[in-house]
Structure formats: structure tokens, C-alpha cells
Symmetry: C2
């Protein structure tokens, strides 16, 4: 299954031809959606999620070809194999078992001859006990205070997913614990957080699989210095989430608790592992976290068991391929009409762009063209008042709209212009895809809308923990389905290595200069040396 064979597939070649047809004026979206059966033919409903792709620039012929492509590429077989522990992360010889973290129904799941479910469940049981004991005051800080602040020290996949979920479920946070994210090595991140915490009531949660991430170690070092200054015992205030045997799991360096993460779950897929379980259980309570897991499990089950033409994340992945490789859109926006989903786009930005921003297939053969889109987004209606000018009249890009039927604050129902705030939100959610699709002619060119701008609309019943779990699983499944079509490995990230290596060399030069102000920087290139001198003499 090579990239070569991808481009020579019959369905691929026919899709190329079909895209040319769809680019002709008679297939303008305003014509496609004039069909009274359009919505029912181009929408799906499952697991309390409604997915409407009637305003994508696609017709029945193209859709059938995409289904054929999915069959040819063995998407469902690959997805099932992933959930069963096959080592699809071939460059690192690892499985990708994020779905196992929310598997409540299986009796066993063997990896390298060992059933991993008991161990995963034991981690969760310990997290439940630990968070319960924090909440009931059994476990307290070294001066006897109850914990009121949790600072998550972790970067990338160690916090982005958790931040998405904690923001989405903020209204469920009734444990009297504030959650802070110390991700950036920038001293300002640390400086801002220590203004907001009571050191005696603060738990520092350090998340790093290898426990070698420079940013995370630098921030741990600051946290320890801060605790020392405040007379606080770090062994009573630090919790680690890390791989077994890492420097963060070292008995010589005692911490309050340490929870394991595993190499069969990658960072950007790790929200349902201890990476998310510890902070989210502390913030929301373990029971809410478990409801979130059950939502994810429901969407996993849908992704594994539904046939291609009924499979929501799979169809969403096919549409992404269609927009990327055939209609040639370079970017995709995610616009949730729900303020609590403000951190969804940053999470999916990592999940999708780090997974699929690749140029090499799993056979080590270069692709003919870049595969992953640029993902960005802000909540609606905010986005309408920000960059939607460009969406309507500038460079076109596909949009994924997200709506929620039931808001979490039903109490506030005062009317403005005859509607509630939630109805006003929906009036906009419904108008935008239609305006983008249909456009409008005008005698004044500045007031012309060319239309034909594609979008999907995904509707959630509510913003319950279950719904947020479904949304998380939807984007995870969609991302790996896309990768399986392209034939790339969505679980490695060698693209971040070169910058790390160069940063390591520069760091060493700086460290040498810190030790010896006469240390010469001449071994570095002229530009880097110029900037180092700027910083040291600054």
C-alpha cells in the first residue's frame, strides 16, 4: 500500500476527473443544494451526533468514488487493527492504543503477549482514589492546607487535549480546584501563574512521558525553587505522570504520587490516559471524567463498527481528502458555535497537523503533494466578526461548523430582538453555511458573493461530558482515517527533531557562556551568534 499505488488507483484517477467536473459552474453549490433530497442524502446521524455534509462540493458520483477509495485502502480493517494493538506506528515499532483507555467492554487486549487492560484500569482506579482523597481533604499540602490549585506542567500533547476538555466542561467543575497550564518555557507563563496561586494549596502536576522535555524540566526547576523559597516540601506537592522507569518515576526523588503513561499511546492521543485523567479528575471529579470516557467509547464503537457509508468520522475523513487533494484547499477552519469549545481548534490543530503533516508514506516513499491541511478556528459568532470577511469574499477554505442543541445555562432566557441568546447563536449558525454556499450577485462588485464555499455542520445534543468525549473521539478517528487513506504514519513526529537538535547546540553555547563570560561563540553560524550576542548584551 504505497503512495505510488495511491495515485494510480482507479478510484483516485476517477476522483481527479470528477473534481474537474465539480469545478464547472453547473455544479456550483447553490445548484447542488437546490435538490430537495440533498440534506437527507448527504447527512448522517449516530451516537446522538448529526453530521451534515450537504454543503460540501460533492455529488453522489464523487461520494461513491470516495467510498470505493475507502474500501480499496482497507480503512475499516486498519482502524480495527489499530484498536486491537497492531503496531501501525511502524517507524517507532509501537501500537496506537488510545482507544483502549476508554474500553469498558472488552475482557482483554493483548500487546506483546500481555493483557494491557488490567494495568490501564488499575491506573484509573488509583487516579480515582487519589482525586477523591484530594477532594475530601485526606491528602493535603505540607502545611496542612487543602489543595485548591493544580498547575499542569507539560507541553504539546501533555496539555492541549486536557485544556480542550477542561474548558468545555468548566461548568461541571465543582471541586473548588482551579486548573492552570504551565506549558511555555517563557518565564512569563510561570510569572503569571504564581500571581494566582496559594503555594501552600498548590499541587504541581508534571507530565512528560520521557521526563526529558526541556521546557517541562525547566518549569519543574522553577516550581521547585519557588517551593523552596516558600518553605514548602516538594515531595508533598508534586505529582508526576510519566513512563515507568523515567527520571520522573525515580524513588530516589520522592513525589506525592506518580502515575504511568505508556508508549502505546502518543501524546496527542493521550487525553483519555493518565495525562488527562489526573488533571481532569482533580478538576471535575473522577465520575465526570468517566462519563467523558464513556462518550469517547461510544464514538469509537461507531467508528469501528459502522459501514463506510454510515461512518461519521470516516466520511468526514473522505471529505477532508476530497477538499485537500482534489479540490486543492490548503486549509480548514473549525468553527464551534459554542464558547466552551474555544480550545477545540488548538487541540485539533495539534492532533491533525502533527499527525498528518507528512511527506513520506509508510513505505518511505515521498508523496506527490503535501497531505495535511492547515487547521485553525475560533468560536462563532466571534469568528464572523473576525476573519469571515476572507471566508466569504477572499480565499476560500472549507469550514466545519459545530452546533449544540441544549446549552448549559437554560436559566437565562431574556429576549433580544424577539429571540434568546441561544436562538440568536443558532440563527447565525444556520445562516453562515447557507451564505457561503449560495453567495449572492450584486450590481456592485464589492457587494458580490461568489458562493460555492464548502462546509460541514456537526450537531451535538449538548455539552455533557459524554458529548465532549464523542467529539474528542470523532476528531481522533477522523485524523487516523485520513492518514490511512494517504498511507502515512499518523503516530510519529520526526519533523520536530531537527529544531530540537539545533536548539540543543545553541543551549549548550549559552550554558558555556553562562559559566564563562569569555566563552567564544565563534563555532556557531554568524546569524545565530549575532542573536546570542544581542541577548547576552541586551
Amino acid at each position: 500500500m504505497t503512495a505510488q499505488s495511491l495515485y494510480t488507483l482507479e478510484s483516485w484517477k476517477q476522483l481527479m476527473a470528477r473534481a474537474e467536473v465539480m469545478n464547472q459552474p453547473q455544479h456550483h453549490l447553490k445548484r447542488l443544494i437546490a435538490d430537495p433530497n440533498r440534506l437527507s442524502a448527504f447527512s448522517l446521524a449516530a451516537a446522538d451526533v448529526f453530521f451534515d455534509f450537504s454543503r460540501q462540493r460533492i455529488d453522489a458520483t464523487a461520494l461513491a468514488l470516495l467510498f470505493e477509495l475507502a474500501r480499496t485502502r482497507g480503512l475499516q480493517e486498519k482502524f480495527a487493527a489499530m484498536t486491537q494493538g497492531e503496531k501501525l506506528n511502524i517507524t517507532e515499532n509501537r501500537a496506537a492504543l488510545h482507544t483502549a483507555t476508554r474500553d469498558f467492554s472488552s475482557n482483554s487486549l493483548y500487546l506483546d503477549g500481555k493483557d494491557i487492560l488490567p494495568e490501564l484500569r488499575e491506573v484509573n482506579r488509583r487516579i480515582k482514589d487519589f482525586s477523591d482523597q484530594i477532594h475530601d481533604g485526606t491528602i493535603r499540602g505540607s502545611t496542612g492546607k487543602r489543595f485548591r490549585h493544580v498547575v499542569v506542567i507539560g507541553i504539546g500533547g501533555s496539555y492541549l487535549g486536557t485544556e480542550f476538555v477542561s474548558t468545555a466542561l468548566k461548568s461541571y467543575a465543582d471541586q473548588n480546584i482551579d486548573l492552570h497550564y504551565l506549558s511555555n518555557v517563557d518565564i512569563h507563563n510561570f510569572g503569571a501563574i504564581i500571581q494566582e496561586i496559594d503555594p501552600e494549596a498548590t499541587l504541581w502536576l508534571i507530565i512528560s512521558k520521557s521526563y526529558t522535555t526541556p521546557e517541562t524540566l525547566a518549569n519543574e526547576s522553577l516550581a521547585r525553587a519557588f517551593m523552596a523559597e516558600k518553605g514548602i516540601d516538594p515531595s508533598k506537592h508534586i505529582v508526576t505522570v510519566t513512563a515507568k522507569g523515567s527520571p520522573g518515576d525515580d524513588p530516589a526523588n520522592p513525589v506525592l504520587q506518580s502515575f504511568n503513561m505508556f508508549d502505546f499511546i502518543g501524546g496527542r492521543y493521550s487525553v483519555c490516559s493518565a495525562v488527562g485523567a489526573v488533571p481532569l479528575s482533580l478538576y471535575l471529579g473522577y465520575d465526570i471524567f468517566e462519563r467523558f470516557l464513556k462518550g469517547a467509547e461510544a464514538m469509537d464503537s461507531h467508528a469501528v463498527h459502522s459501514p463506510i457509508h454510515e461512518n461519521i468520522p470516516l466520511v468526514a475523513a473522505l471529505l477532508a481528502i476530497w477538499n485537500n487533494n482534489f479540490l486543492k484547499y490548503p486549509a480548514q477552519a473549525i468553527i464551534p458555535y459554542a464558547a466552551p469549545l474555544a480550545k477545540l481548534a488548538p487541540h485539533v490543530q495539534q492532533l491533525n497537523m502533527e499527525s498528518n503533516g507528512k511527506t513520506v508514506n509508510t513505505d518511505g516513499i515521498f508523496l506527490n503533494e503535501p497531505c495535511g491541511p492547515i487547521i485553525f478556528g475560533e468560536p462563532g459568532t466571534n469568528a464572523q466578526h473576525s476573519f469571515f470577511q476572507l471566508a466569504h469574499q477572499g480565499r476560500a477554505f472549507p469550514i466545519e461548523f459545530i452546533g449544540v442543541i441544549h446549552p448549559q445555562y437554560p436559566k437565562y432566557q431574556s429576549l433580544s430582538k424577539g429571540v434568546t441568546n441561544h436562538q440568536e447563536l443558532w440563527a447565525n449558525l444556520l445562516s453562515q453555511p447557507m451564505a457561503l454556499a449560495t453567495g449572492k450577485d450584486d450590481a456592485d462588485p464589492a457587494r458580490c458573493f461568489s458562493g460555492n464555499r464548502p462546509s460541514s455542520t456537526l450537531i451535538l445534543k449538548d455539552l455533557s461530558p459524554e458529548s465532549i468525549g464523542k467529539l474528542l473521539s470523532f476528531y481522533e478517528a477522523r485524523t487516523v482515517f485520513e492518514a490511512f487513506i494517504w498511507g502515512i504514519n499518523p503516530f510519529d513526529q520526526f519533523g520536530v527533531e531537527l529544531g530540537k537538535v539545533l536548539a540543543g547546540k545553541i543551549r549548550q553555547e549559552m550554558a558555556d557562556r553562562n559559566m564563562d563570560s569569555a566563552h567564544s561563540l565563534d563555532s556557531t553560524d554568524a546569524t545565530t551568534r549575532f542573536y546570542m550576542e544581542m541577548l547576552f548584551s541586551g
Copy 2:
């Protein structure tokens, strides 16, 4: 000066040819930067800002052609005319005088025969008095409490710039006032804020030029209902920033204070007007706000007076055109290595995409190709751990890196791996542009880096109010310079109108249905009706 003439300009045609040359392997960035004079030849310093474009895919020939293009398009004349009040917003017959809000040096500035500077300065004097009186407790809430919370009700340009500045200058906020942004009509935005405020100590600041923005009015309506429920007199808790004579400036509807905004300053350029002045003075104190204005004035002065080849925002605009129209990059990322600049990208996203996401030039002639890039970004090093996989090995896009020499928290200097956090941050800031430019070969295709990925690096001395003012003005000037090259109007936004019209129709249907549950929705299209039924029966 039409789009037609743009594409037939000699410099334009030569730039097209030069781009083809620059796409050849011998002009790979790793070769360009091997020149020991590269940095000095492709960098600028002014107003304590250093701008390095040595890692853009450009050579002296292309740069000279871009300068020629700038001369031909009369960029400096247009920019000067803008600051003098010429009505460059021709579709709305308005001037674009955001620079006047920070003009401390001119004696007069006539618009339609009237000197506008006295009026602008009088608004600021009133804002200073008002914020001083809030801070010293002269003005208090209706139950006698001092104000501790300001909720800004406004959307798009009424808050994005202010949010950028208030986030950047948070460490200067010593007035004991928390700032909250109620922008989204989503009830969750309101619901989350009322958890965090003391209603007796809360000032509601309603910002809308026309005072007809549906989201803003809906949120004002909620705020009034909330105050009524809490027994608070809204006339002592509401402040408006709006145009003279708007419904928000109506003596029949008394408020604590009302400050004027003017139609010669557009929303996305309005941070330095009362739109930003009121919330930022309340949050930071007027003196800090004035320092911010003075920084903006310094960069304005640089943009007006520097020759083309020394003009930082102008050169940045030329590079954006080069990347967009000639090298065909569809997007641009802004990556500040500074956590306080976390809201810069969302602000520039609006500023640039709403200004330049156009398809029609000022003569009403359609452009040959879309002009504005998609703008997105997150702070570094966070972005490295999120979407930089794609930046290095996937679809290429130009990046604007931003660094800061002096952090605001010099106290924390503990070393990790031999360097401070700020040095670690810089090690990454320096390594990324180099890794993107040079790339690296490897026997393993999955570990190959093609390099040749362009970036600029902009260095600020510090994160003082002055520096933030310079940064704001830099992006404003750059945006309008880009527009002047394309020959488009960066001050209108007709692209958002169609969605508003459709939303208005849907809102009316919902309002009718609220009044009469038997109201038929049959006049709407089938898809919209389907969704309305979903919401009403939800």
C-alpha cells in the same frame, strides 16, 4: 491604479519571472543564507525594533523589484494621505484616521473642514478623569462598593485588539480590576462570567459604534436582567462607547458615562480610540495606556517618514505580497516567543484577514487571484509541540517569529540544563528559523527535512507598553501597505453582510415562532427549516 494595471506593471511581470528563478534548487534558502553578509543586507533596525528577513526566499534582485513595485504603487504617498485624512475608504466615503488617536505632535488635523484633534484629545481627557475616579473610589457602584470587575460587551474589533493589549500588559495591571470579555452571544460566555464577578462591584462596558450589533445588544439585555435580579441600578453600572447619536448615546436611557467613537476609525483599527482607551485605562491606569499610545506613535512616524528600503512595516508588506502572489503560499503563521503575546495572532487574524480578504479592487474590478493569506498562530515554544511537524515536513507556509530581549520577570533565574528559562526560549527561537531554512538530508526519508521554508524574525527590546504600541502599529501599517499594493480597500467589510441578512431572516422566523408556537416555518428553505425544528423540539 486598477488591478488590471497591477498585473501588467513591468515590476510585477519581472517579479513573476524572478519567482520562477527563486524556485530553482540553486536558490534554496540554505544557499542564500550561506552568504556572510546575508543578515546585514536583509535586516532593518528602527524604533528599537529589529526586523530580520534574511530567511525569506528572496534575493537582492527580487527585493529591488519589490521596491520598484512599492514606488510605482505610490505606497508612501498613500500612507501619508491616510494619516492626513484622505477618504481612502471610498466605498463608505470615510477617512481612516486611526493614527490620529496617538498623534501627540500635530497641532491640527482637518477632516471635512473641522479640526478633529481637539475632540479626540477631549475624549481621552475624559477617559483619564473617569478611570482615575474609578481607581480612587470617587465613582462607585449603586450599593457603594468600589469597582473590581469590568465586563467588556463587544465583538470583533470592539474587543480583539483590546484583548491583545490587556493580555500583553497584564503584568502592569495593578489597579485591582479584573477585565472580562463578553463577546460571544453564546449564553455560555455570559454564564461563565457571572460565576466570576461580584455584581455590586462590576462595571459593564458596552462597545458598539452603531449600537445595533445583535450579539452586543443581546448581551446587554442579559446584563440588565442580571442587574435587575440583583437589585442594582444599571445607570450606575453601565458605560457605553459608541457613535454620537446612536441608541447607546441616548439621554432617555441614562448610563454612568458615554464616550464617543468616530466613523473615521474602523473597528479593527480602533484599539487606540475610546474602544481600547476605556477598558485599558480602567485595567492598567491611563498613564500606562498613554505610554502604549506613544509607542504606536513612534512606529507610525517610522512608517510615514522612512524611505521604502528602510521602512519595516512596508518591507514586511512587500514580503507578504511576495509570499502570497509570487511564491503562492496561502497562509502565514505568527509565532511570538512570548506568552503575553498569546492574543496577537487572533488580533492580526481579524486585522489582516478582514482588511485584505477581498476580491475586488478600489475600481470595482475583480482581482486575478485571492489576495489575503490565512493568518494563524500560537506562542512558541508551544507551537513547536503542536503544529510544527507540518511546518517542517508537511505543507510549507511562511512564519513570522517574534522575540523579546528583556522579560518582565527577571527575578526567576534558576538554571535547567545550564540555562535560564528565557535563554531556553531563545535557544528555540533561534533554532527554528534555521531548521526551517536549511533542512537536513537523511538516509531515512521519514527523517528528511527539505528545508527552504521561509520566515522573518522580529525582535522587540521588551514587553513595555511602548513596545506593545509599536507592535500594534507595525501590524496596522503592514496591513494597509499590503492593501495599497493590491489596490484594494482595507477599510470596508461587505463580506460579512450576506450572513447578517440571512441571520436576520432566520431570527425573525424564530421570534415569530416564540410568539406563536403554531407559526409555520414553511417560508424558509428545507435545510434551515429542518434545523429550526431540531432546535425548537430539542
